[in-house]
């Protein structure tokens, strides 16, 4: 697990659940800090995947944010952001 050293200052929604987050941090970091490790299943076999590289290389962190398909590690949290697998 990962633990925060700086307090959350806003909240986001992940798949309908409200989670604490910090404005400007990578969305993938907010999810990991809230204990959300599994982000999606692969298209091929449905095998579970989560953020792996945190630098935009692996595409394992691909999620939906307000309808757009994005890399959760490259998107900065904004208050109230709605994300889903």
């Amino acid at each position: 697990m990962f633990q925060r050293t700086e307090p959350a200052d806003c909240s986001i929604e992940w798949d309908g659940a409200v989670l604490p987050a910090r404005t400007g941090e990578p969305l993938a970091a907010a999810l990991l800090a809230a204990g959300v490790v599994r982000l999606r299943g692969t298209v091929l076999s449905g095998a579970p995947r989560g953020a792996f590289c945190m630098m935009g290389a692996c595409f394992d962190c691909v999620v939906q944010v307000e309808g757009a398909v994005v890399q959760a590690c490259m998107v900065a949290v904004t208050p109230g952001m709605k994300a889903a697998p």
């Binding site: 990578p26 945190m54 935009g56 692996c58």
Partner: protein, 441 residues
Amino acid sequence: MRVDVLVLGAGPAGMSAALEARAQGLSVLLLDENAAPGGQVYRGARADARGPGADQARAGAKLAAALAGSGAERRFGATLWAIEPGPVAFFSEEGGARRVAAGQIILAPGTTERALPLPGWTLPGVMGVGAAQILMKSAGLLPSGAVWLAGQGPLLWLYAAQALAKGGRIAGIVDMSGPRTAALWHLPAALAAPGYLARGMAWMGAVRRQVPVHRSRDLRAEGDGQLERVVIDGTPHPADTLLLHDGVVPNTQVTRAIQGCAHRFRAGAWEPVVDEWGHTSTAGILVAGDGGGVFGAAAAALSGRIAALAVAHALGCFGVEQRDALAGPLLLRRGRQRAPRRFLDALFPPLPPPADPVMLCRCEEVSAGRVREAVALGCLGTNQLKAFTRAGMGACQGRVCGPLLHSAVAAARGVDGAMVEPLRTRFPTKPLTLGELAALA
């Protein structure tokens, strides 16, 4: 849009190149995909940093501050996706594509972590050590609880030392380095290179006093849906996070897609062929920093300045004598910074490819065994392998699996890596939407 110098990447090399080019009176556009300057090593760098790696953070904060006041145009959240002769570059920002013509282009793409494939490494909860360092630098997240580290190389020990110094907790480390490593670590201390190796040994010592270190290459990650335990030499240990590391490799995603840009195989990885200034074999395109061969942040910053001086000379700012006079001291300092690197390369050669069932290509879910089957059927290289297995054809475009597929094919053929060509990349090197393209029209 037209500029004298386009710089890609705002890490140590890119920021230094942009500053030096501005100092020589050139107009500069600096692009970086991230939301803020720093690259990986200087990410989130603060002038008041303390503890392990703080000297780097302070250097990074200083560079970023100088850059902000330099008059260089900086665009963050900007992703370069093509370079054409001219040179002309294309990038996307804020949902639109842009075109920029440049006198010359300095690429400072940095490195990516070499993935360390082992059984269960695709499970959520298994990440790169570099990824965890990004979490620490960009969001202040520290490891806590059942967090394991495994693999080899300086970054693993630096991350562990940094995390522990800040109050993080690590359950254990699996040291997968070769058998002679422990002894060899002591040799370079005598060389007293610019402090780098001595600091590395200090980190390692501090970590070993606080965290149990297992020496093994028999490691599995297991769990139902996400990581639940690591199994070391057959003994299970509870784990919710496993951080893997096998060194870093030059990020050649862009350079490999440039027409006529030659690459070579060195220290277990492909890198663009560059001269001492950073010139590639394509006119008008230079590479500075670790993207042209991994030598660390201090050498990268010097490479950035050296490349900018070459560009200033090429664009008519001054003659050869002045270029050489300005660059001479920088080249000397860079030579000293680079000295320990060959030793580290020899110390930590990439780990051997894994057993047959282990996945190599995470996107297309291709195992090491299927790669070996393809080689047995006559597949000679990684580009051919795409046709055999679809490995390397997924969303990451070979960023993660490229080096793994390459070493697996070379090992299965029983030839040196230099004999197996790297995966070809293609522009656009990042996925584009039609909406972004429409902005160009």
